[in-house]
Symmetry: C2
């Protein structure tokens, strides 16, 4: 009675060579397919360095047409069709001159363009100046009915919002994919930020009785806007360097923490990548478990008190 689907998560380092990053990802897609993956998801903005560490008008030139006519999408569609895989690809969308989004496209296993999701929750914090680049999404939350599963997509910062996951759960999402670029960038963040990141997402999987796949970037990327920092406050012990936002030569930046993972409907981690290197996660999941879970545990739907949730539509209850 099982219904196994193989997921492929591409966790990798990037360089400042966009074409090289793209080709590296295409290579991983082919490798994932050869290892049996049927639904393959990239990390957030996989074609470039995570350019949001600084506010630089030049980076607008990285944005591109992400419709089915865009050249990246066409290449991906061709590959999806050849390999018979669903592709979930995170791109920098140029919607119009002066209007950009952080967008993920979904391509079916026949190469067909199923649509796109525009990141709804946009951060703006030191090292993550996304509000400079990305207008918050205007398409809402959508479940894509692919040949292998009904999937929802969120993007990075969205992952902290139970509302976003629930809105996909209420559409029957079997798997929520979350391309991500998150890491340690400041000593103040403490040592448990990555664990909090994982726990809140495992919670979404439980609350909505679905699988959740988070695909994170890895490696240290220098903040181009800052010079060397030599403050004693960041001279952390070597063993804590991955949490400090300090690079191998003392540079300021982000240590992307990798640890891409798949959680199952009971919140267990099925597979998890390392924190420090490229990794292709191939993970079979059993969609039949979702039906079993939703029959046994009725909490995702049956007893919700929608009459009492009105204040969720307020920024604060004051």
């Amino acid at each position: 009675m099982s219904n196994i689907v193989n997921l492929g998560l591409i966790q990798m380092t990037c360089s400042d060579d966009v074409q090289a990053n793209f080709e590296k990802t295409l290579g991983y897609i082919e490798q994932a397919a050869s290892e049996g993956a049927q639904i393959i998801c990239t990390q957030e903005l996989f074609k470039s360095l995570y350019f949001c560490q600084s506010e630089d008008f030049a980076h607008y030139d990285l944005a591109e047409d992400v419709s089915q006519d865009g050249s990246t999408v066409q290449t991906l569609s061709q590959l999806a069709k050849e390999l018979r895989v669903v592709l979930i690809a995170s791109l920098f969308e140029k919607r119009a001159l002066g209007l950009y989004h952080n967008t993920t496209v979904v391509i079916d296993a026949d190469g067909g363009y199923l649509g796109k999701y525009r990141k709804m929750h946009i951060p703006d914090d030191p090292h993550y100046y996304e509000k400079f680049y990305f207008t918050p999404g205007d398409l809402g939350y959508k479940v894509f009915h692919t040949q292998y599963a009904d999937i929802g997509v969120l993007i990075c910062w969205d992952q902290w919002y139970p509302e976003a996951a629930r809105l996909l759960g209420l559409q029957g999402a079997e798997i929520i994919f979350i391309p991500t670029a998150i890491g340690y960038s400041m000593p103040e963040e403490g040592s448990t930020y990555d664990q909090s990141w994982q726990i809140v997402q495992r919670g979404h999987a439980v609350a909505n009785a679905c699988y959740l796949a988070a695909v994170n970037r890895v490696g240290f990327e220098v903040d181009p806007s800052t010079s060397l920092r030599a403050s004693p406050s960041i001279a952390l012990p070597a063993s804590d360097d991955h949490m400090s936002g300090v690079g191998p030569n003392g540079e300021s930046g982000i240590n992307f923490w990798g640890q891409s993972f798949v959680a199952d409907p009971d919140g267990s981690i099925v597979k998890q990548a390392s924190r420090d290197r490229d990794e292709l996660v191939i993970c079979p999941v059993d969609l039949a478990l979702i039906e079993e879970t939703k029959k046994l545990y009725s909490f995702p739907y049956r007893d919700r008190r929608v009459d009492s949730y009105g204040d969720l539509l307020k920024l604060y209850s004051d």
Copy 2:
């Protein structure tokens, strides 16, 4: 700069002697206070066995007035005033003849009655026939401003709903207390139900950057409506007995899994009780950590897309 408050969680077995259960709880309250607890929370329906395993009209007689005039509340108020502790007590409310709620009262450290919360999400599953007894709450979600902290209360089944925790987070809850009665009652539940229970609640703590204290019942309670079961399907290995819903003599019932815990705003477990015995959890928490967390991580509030959450008010997006 810390602002430490000591929590006391009373996890215990109950018998069919209501007065004995009440006195046992009063004793634990005194012990908790003597060990420094300032905010003390009972398990769900601590005065009785978990009577919802069967639908029995006779159990209506367990319900009582939970206003400040009720005798249980008066006893608790007196004790709270004497000990200078906040008390959170889960009771079976008789609101009117034929109208009952699963209700938790909050009493301040001066003995003052701060109000009550009526359980909003009511389960109805084998061994948990709560819809027979409890009309779903009509008071919504409320933060109580006690002398020691601003606290929210949920009750058991509510704990699976991110909406409920968020609605308390949006009122600035520093600690969410959740009196609970949950355990293994069927082999079908699998071995990870208790872990899922913990993960979803730790997720609430992260998403809302608050503390969360779940206070669960412990011990095996027989289902009075069933006789001995001898089906081979429940003849599980001894080591798994705590997950089987089978009592020491082969009876059907609930193995309440205890494991009362306190999670901090990063989702870490600060303290956790055992799964198999009475335990008084005394746990200091630092309320200053909430402010630090909310400053560093803006996700609970700043970037919420309340314009896009409308479908949360639907039972399903179809």
